[in-house]
């Protein structure tokens, strides 16, 4: 019950997954399956959100020196939740507009700015770590610099634009294709293992 039935279900539904794709007559059944997956998946997502909320609640309860900031998170979360839910039931209301503004002018700039910090870190990393120590490192460095030049080339530097285009078209395509085929083999192998019940880590621990 605890282990065998889930594995049997994975096997049966795995076969269904293969069948609905390659047998055209099962098209109607495919749509039923898609509805099922959407509904079951929705519960999984709802569960994920509830555990995320609990995680932040427990963080508040635990007393520590950065308590104040945990409150900031908690209060903003509650605030977003309340205005969002009221806004959902009263479209075009002040609440909905406030919710939209909180997203566009608080959440979006914060997210974008945090990622923008990476610009500075990569600059400092390029200055400190990008050295021509071995022939391989030299190749890496030269390719990197050529692409950096090529993507912003103008006037006399246009030759870098052409070299970059070729670098992407031939060596990069070849290297990335090796990786792609590797990834593909990985996906196919893992999927087969899941259907056959060899790979079981998704069931979690315990008996």
């Amino acid at each position: 019950m605890k282990r065998t039935l889930p594995l049997a279900l994975a096997f049966i539904f795995g076969l269904i997954g293969i069948a609905v794709q390659i047998v055209p007559a099962l098209k109607g059944f495919l749509n039923t399956m898609l509805d099922w997956m959407a509904i079951i998946g929705s519960f999984a997502l709802a569960l994920g959100v509830s555990s995320l909320t609990r995680h932040h609640m427990t963080k508040i309860r635990r007393k520590h020196k950065d308590m104040f900031f945990s409150y900031v998170t908690f209060v903003t979360m509650l605030f977003m939740m309340i205005i969002g839910l009221i806004g959902y039931f009263q479209p075009e209301s002040l609440y909905q507009r406030l919710f939209g503004n909180m997203y566009n002018y608080v959440r979006v700039p914060l997210d974008a700015s945090m990622f923008a910090l990476l610009a500075f870190f990569i600059t400092s990393a390029a200055y400190r770590a990008f050295r021509a120590r071995t022939w391989l490192a030299t190749v890496l460095l030269v390719a990197g610099v050529v692409v950096m030049m090529g993507r912003v080339a103008f006037g006399p530097f246009m030759i870098f634009n052409d070299i970059t285009a070729w670098l992407m078209k031939v060596p990069t395509t070849a290297a990335m294709r090796g990786l792609t085929i590797g990834i593909g083999l990985g996906i196919v192998a893992t999927s087969i293992k899941i259907v056959l019940g060899i790979e079981r880590s998704y069931l979690g621990g315990g008996e």
């Binding site: 509805d35 997956m37 979360m77 959902y88 914060l110 997210d111 974008a112 910090l117 078209k169 315990g206």
Partner: protein, 235 residues
């Protein structure tokens, strides 16, 4: 409008203050971010997932008298509800049923199409180009010898170089661990050359991407907020 734009600018600056050193202003902004993100997700999961994916289809099926469809939706909902067993320590294992159904189904569904996308078509692309012409075409080399130019050289060597590259990279990935086979040892150096060219190009691009994100922020400050401020104060 100006109020919200100014809020956005101040919060961006608070994040940038981290470059100087970690400080309470940055911490405040960071926690504000987590709060808005989680709050937003809760609202959207309720309105876009629970309402739209579970409640709406069921109510519409009732409304349109599609009872067979309704039964199927209800079965799916019951299976989904098994996830709630996660809240109990003892009955937690029940949630394995919905997990294995979805994981099993999507794994089965992925096998054929992933194989075709990442392996078959990619291997085909290493033999012929998208027009069906072979990549290893000796005639093109002849053309280059007859009338040497950069473009005819590109046509003549690019195909063979691509084929050679894919083969050595694959050999490198699959057999490179302590293998004395002369073929494998031969492939080692050129494979690394291809990989370094690829990763170097990738690094160049990565650098470009990171800078763009910063430019985006500066663009907001100087090309959107600043003109708005001038407009509001001036007029």
């Amino acid at each position: 409008m100006l109020f919200w734009y100014t809020v956005a600018v101040l919060l961006s600056l608070a994040i940038f203050s981290f470059l100087w050193k970690d400080n309470p202003l940055y911490k405040f902004a960071e926690h504000l971010f987590v709060g808005t993100m989680v709050g937003y997700t809760i609202v959207m999961v309720f309105s876009q997932i629970i309402m739209r994916k579970i409640v709406d289809p069921i109510t519409l099926a009732v409304h349109n008298h599609q009872y067979l469809n309704l039964i199927s939706l209800i079965i799916a909902t019951l299976i989904g509800l098994l996830y709630l067993s996660r809240f109990s320590q003892k009955a937690q294992w029940v949630s394995r049923y919905p997990i294995s159904i979805t994981v099993g189904f999507w794994s089965g569904y992925a096998i054929v199409t992933s194989f075709k996308t990442n392996i078959l078509t990619q291997v085909r692309g290493t033999v012929v180009d998208d027009m069906g012409a072979p990549l290893l075409n000796g005639e093109l080399l002849g053309d280059f010898i007859k009338s040497p130019s950069w473009s005819s050289l590109d046509l003549a060597v690019s195909g063979p170089l691509l084929v050679f590259g894919v083969i050595v990279v694959l050999i490198y990935f699959f057999f490179s661990i302590k293998n004395e086979n002369p073929m494998v040892r031969f492939a080692n150096k050129p494979a690394l050359l291809y990989l370094m060219l690829g990763f170097g190009a990738s690094f160049g691009y990565t650098f470009m991407g990171r800078i763009s994100l910063f430019i985006g922020r500066m663009n907001f400050i100087f090309n959107e907020w600043w003109p708005l401020l001038k407009q509001t104060i001036g007029g």
